[in-house]
Amino acid sequence: MPWVEVCALADIPNRGCRVVRTPRGRIALFRTASDEVFALDDRCPHKGGPLSEGIVHGRHVTCPLHNWVIGLADGEAAGADKGCVRRYPVRLEGGRVLLSVGSIGSDKGKQ
C-alpha cells in the first residue's frame, strides 16, 4: 500500500481534527490528547454530519449535528446508537502524518 504524507502532526490541533479532501470525499484526521492520530470518513453514520467539526474527547468524537459519539479506533457509534464509520490506515513518522491512500482508491480498506 502506498503511504502518502498528508500533513505534520502539528497541523492538527491537540484534541482536534483537520480534513483531507479526496476524490472519494473528505477524510477526517483526528488527533487525541495523547497525540494518537486516527483517520475516518468525515460523515456521521446517523445523518452525514461532519465529524471533523466535533469535540474530540478520549478516543471519541461527538458529532456536532446530533451528538452521536463515534469511537475513533473502531469507527463504531457508542452507547445505544448503531452505525459504523469507515476507517483508513494512518501512521506517524517523525512528526509527519502518513495516510494509506491505496485504501482510498480501492475498497480494500472497507470494514
Partner: protein, 833 residues
Amino acid sequence: MTIHSRQRLVVVGNGMAPGRALERLFEQAPEAYDVTIFNAEPRVNYDRIMLSPVLSGEKSFEQIVIHGDGWYVNHGITLYKGARVTRIDRTARTVTAEFVAVGSLGHAPLEPTVTVPYDKLIIGTGSNPIILPVPGRDLPGVLTYRDLDDVNAMLIAARAKGSAVVIGGGLLGLEAAAGLKEQGMDVTVLHLMPTLMERQLDPAAGHLLQRAIEARGIKVITRANTRAILGNGRVEAVELDNGTRLTADLVVMAVGIRPNMQLAKDADLAVNRGILVDTAMRTSDPDIFALGECAEADGQVFGLVAPLYEMANVVAAQLRGDDARFRPSATATKLKVTGINLFSAGDFAEARDREEIVLRDATRGQYRRVVLKDNRIVGAVLYGDVADGPWFFDLLKRGEDVSDRRERLIFGQSYAAGGIPLDPAAAVAALPDDAEICGCNGVCKGKITGAIAGLGLKSLDEVRAHTKASASCGSCTGLVEQLLKAQLGDTYNPAAVQPMCGCTELGHDDVRRLIVAKELKTIAQLMQELEWKTSCGCAKCRPALNYYLLCTWPGEYVDDSQSRFVNERVHANIQKDGTYSVVPRMWGGQTSAKELRAIADVVERYNIPTVKVTGGQRIDMLGVRKEDLPLVWADLSAAGMVSGHAYAKGLRTVKTCVGTDWCRFGTQDSTGLGVRLEKFMWGSWTPAKVKLAVSGCPRNCAEATCKDIGVVCVDSGYDIHFAGAAGLEIKGTELLGHVATELEAIEAIGALTQLYREQGRYLERIYKWAKRVGVDTIRQHIMEDAERRRVLYDRFVFSQSFAQVDPWAERAAGKDAHEFAPVAELALPQAAE
C-alpha cells in the same frame, strides 16, 4: 357469532379507568379486540389527579399525559376525540356519537355523527360536578373543577389576578384554591361544614389544615352557606345566607361529583346512584361493562383512583376470559398541595366500641390519631409528618392485632418495634413485601424491589416506567426513593445533586465553587484537581468548563477553542449539510444602504443560496461554505459590520421599536437605548443565549415581555423585565423593577447579566435560572441592594473589556486560517479503477 375474526370492543370515555383497563388488556391479549374509543374531550388520556399541579403551574399538560397519540396508533385503536356518545342501541348492538369539538381530525367532520357496532362495550363516562342550585350559577365566570378545560378557563381568569371564591372545602376545592393563589389571585374558600375535608379528616386535623391554608394567604370561611351568585352579565360577587357579600371575579364550584349515568339510563341498564355492576363489573347487560366513577359496586360509588384502577384490572381480566372479581378495600387519601402533608385512611368516626390514640404537637403542626376497634386499626389520620402513613395503612388493611405494641403505636413504625428509631430507608426496608407503596396503582413493595433487582433499575424514572409506582399522583415518590436507596445503597444517587456528566460526580454548582476556592485556571488543572474520571472530559463537560473558567477569570483564562462547540469555534452556525450561516450585527435592528449593499455583494460573490430576515431583526445568509467564511467576513468587515454572535451562548440580539424617533405613541428613545445596550453588551459569553428587546411604550411592539431581558419604556422611565421565554416553552417575563433614567436601566441590566453569568448553569436560560434561585432573590440583589448591584455591574464592565473583540475581523485578518481550509488535497490516480 360474528363474522369478524376479532371481537369489536367499544369504549365510551377516555379517562384513567378505561385507559388502565385497555393497558392491562393489551399486556395479556394484544390481539383479542379491535378497539374504538369515544372521548367527549378533544384530547388523549391524561392524569386527572394531576390537574392541581397544572393549575398551580408546577406541571404542564404534556407532563400529565398518560397515553400520547402514539400509544393509540401502536395499539391500532380508533380514537374519536371530541365525540360524545348520544345513544347505545342494545338491540342493534351499536353506539352512536356526535362530534362536539374539532378533535384529532383538525377540521370539522364530514358527518355530524358516527355509528359503530360492538361485541363488547365498556362505559366509563365518569362523573359530573355538582352544581349548587343557587341563583346566578349560570353566570360567565362560574366554573367547576373537573377537566383540563376547567383548568384552562381558570388559568385565563387568573391572568387578570383579582378575587376568586372557591365553594367547597374538600380535596378538590382546596387544591383549586391553592392553585389559584399560586397564580396570584386573592382566594376565599367557602365550606358548608364546620371543618375542612370533614369526610377524610377529624375536626382536629381539619383545624390544623385550615391554619396551614390560611398561612398561605387564603381566606377560609366555614359554616358558609351560599345563597346566591351575583353579577350583571358576569360574576361579580357571592352572597352568603347571613348576608355577607364577597367580591369575586371567578367562582369555582367544587362541592362534589355525581356519577354520569344518563347514557346507561337511556339504554335501560339498571342504575341506582351509579350504573349498577356486579363483582365482575358487568352491568345488567352481560356484554356491557361499566367502571370508574360512573359505576356503583357493592352499594358504593368511588372517586379515588386506587379502587378505579382495581375495577380496570377486573374488566381487563373479564375481557380476556379470566374470572376476576372487584372487592373494594379501604382507601387512603392525600392532599396534593405543596407544603401541606396529610394522610387519612379508613373510618375514624367516634363510636362506643372504638378507642383512639392521639398525638398532638400544635406548635410544630404535628397531629396523629389512630382509631382502634378490638385492638385493630380501623382508621388513621396523620398531619405534618406523614411518613408512617403506609405503615398504619398496611396494619389497617391486614386487620392486625396491635395490642402488643399499643403504647408505642402512635409514634410510628420506628418506635413501635421497640428499638431505636429507624432511619427512613430502614423503615421502608422493614415493611413486609405485600405492603402497598403506591395506592393509586396498587403497587406493593415486593413488586418494586423485585423489579429493581430483576431488571437492574437504577432510577426513579425507571421504576415508574416498569412498575407504575409513584407514576400517578406522585405522593409516594419519597417511599419509592427510599426503596431504591435501601436496595442499591450508596450507588443510588437521588436527584439532589445531578452530576455535570458521566466524567464526574460533581454538579455544576460544586464545580463553579471549587474553581474559585481552589483557584483552578485551566481545564487540565481542573480535571486533575477535581479527579475527573475521563482523560479529557466529554462533549458535555468541556464546553461548560470552558465557560465557567472564562467567566471566573476574565482576561486571565485562555479560551480553549477545542472545547468549544463548532459554532463558537468557527463563529458561524453549522447547518444540516455542513455549510454555515452568517448573521452580522445590526445594532438595535437598524441597518443602512451601505450595509445592505455589502450584504448583497457578498451574497452574489459567494453564491449564497438563501438570505432570510431573522426574528431578531437581522439578516441571515445561509449555505456558506466553510472555506468561504473568512472571505465573507472580510467583505462584511470592510463595510463596518461585526459578528452578530448568532451562534453564541452569549448576547444575541437587541430588538427594538422605533420609539420617540418616529412613533406617535413612543415615550422614550427605545431604538437608542437598544443600540446602547447592544454596544455595551455584545461579545459577552453567558451560560446560554441572551436575547433582549426594548419597546418604546406599553404597546410593546418589540415584544420585550417574552425575552431573556426586556425593557418597556413608559412616561416615567423604564420597566425592566426578565426571565421570559418564547421557544420550547412560552413564558411572560417577570418585572425586575422600574428606573427613571437610561443609565440606571443599563446598570441594572449589566448587573443582572453578570449575576446570571456567575450563577447560571451552562445551557440554563435566564428563565430557568430565575426559577431555580427565585425571582424575588434576584430582584433583591439587583434592585434593592445598590452596593451589590454596583459591584456586579463593575465586574461585568471589567469582563467586557476583554470580550469585545470582533472574531470575524480577527479571522478575516488570518487568525486560525488553518481551521478553514483542508490540510491536504489528494488527487488519486488509482482511484480511476
